[in-house]
């Protein structure tokens, strides 16, 4: 009985991840929702849906950042996913890179205004 368990364990190979080597392969094995990203500019200047549903004010928009501008602070995002569900234009989606970390706090903030993407 024990020998069977041992043989089965040895036959199934290693389970340890090779990260950070083969990073893309390792990350693509998981479909986790870690942080959202912005796909493109928002055309509806009157809509405030995303900033209204955001519980930690990670998403802000309005006059301070231009009329249609969006500002997403990933450092304040608790990954509730309400913006992803709420936005009718699909501006927000879950990031592919689930291992995001930065050396500066300002690198976690991305803004988007009127078609041009000012990431970082």
């Amino acid at each position: 009985m024990r020998a069977e368990w041992l043989l089965a364990g040895l036959a199934s190979g290693r389970v340890t991840t090779t990260y950070p080597r083969q990073r893309k392969q390792e990350l693509s094995r998981h479909r986790w929702n870690s942080v959202p990203t912005m796909n493109g500019p928002c055309s509806d200047t009157a809509c405030r849906g995303c900033s209204e549903v955001c519980p930690t004010e990670a998403i802000t928009r309005g006059e301070a950042y231009g009329n249609a501008a969006l500002r997403l602070d990933v450092g304040a995002c608790i990954a509730c996913g309400r913006c992803v569900d709420r936005c009718p234009e699909g501006v927000f989606s879950w990031a592919e890179a689930i291992d995001r970390a930065e050396v500066g706090k300002e690198l976690l903030i991305s803004t988007m205004e009127g078609g041009a993407d000012h990431d970082g």
Binding site: T17, V35, P55, T56, G75, A76, I78, K105
Partner: protein, 162 residues
């Protein structure tokens, strides 16, 4: 900025050797991490402890947890900094030998998250200590914790060489 955030798509053998050399130069072949919880909900702790399980197995990179800040190279801070823990965090940092790195992990340590408006919340960790890497996520997954650590070591090297 690309979606890969400046890290090569495939961490090839050369990068691996470079990182090993950096670890050896600055921290003597191994890196010891002191984890401190300054007011967390334990979701971040769950992810931090997953680093040492057989799947993530961060010992293969020469990384270890230590219980004493006097043995630590890295201070890993999780949770929303409360008034009661602010002096403790400062003492822990002061007890660490140089060079020392500070990682802020989780949205509570970076910004406050859902506790940002609490009366007992002091502020983000970088208002108290110099932070080398910011790891977002609620909670950050173990890959992000490793990425933050590797980026912090690399950025410290850039500062040193400039």
């Amino acid at each position: 900025m690309t979606a890969d955030h400046g890290i090569p798509a495939d961490w090839d053998e050369l990068e691996e050797q470079g990182m090993s050399a950096r670890l050896a130069r600055y921290f003597g072949h191994s890196l010891h991490i002191r984890h401190i919880d300054v007011g967390s909900c334990n979701a971040c702790e769950s992810e931090v402890l997953a680093l040492s399980n057989p799947y993530y197995n961060f010992h293969r990179l020469g990384l270890f947890f230590t219980h004493s800040p006097r043995h630590a190279d890295v201070l890993l801070v999780t949770g929303a900094l409360t008034q009661a823990m602010a002096p403790v965090l400062r003492e822990t940092y002061d007890a660490m030998p140089r060079p020392r790195l500070v990682l802020a992990a989780g949205v509570c340590a970076l910004h406050g998250g859902v506790f940002a408006n609490s009366s007992r919340f002091v502020g983000p960790v970088d208002s108290v200590l110099p932070v080398d890497a910011y790891i977002p996520g609620c909670p950050p997954n173990p890959y992000a914790l490793l990425q933050g650590l590797l980026k912090a070591i690399r950025s410290r090297e850039e500062v040193k060489s400039s």
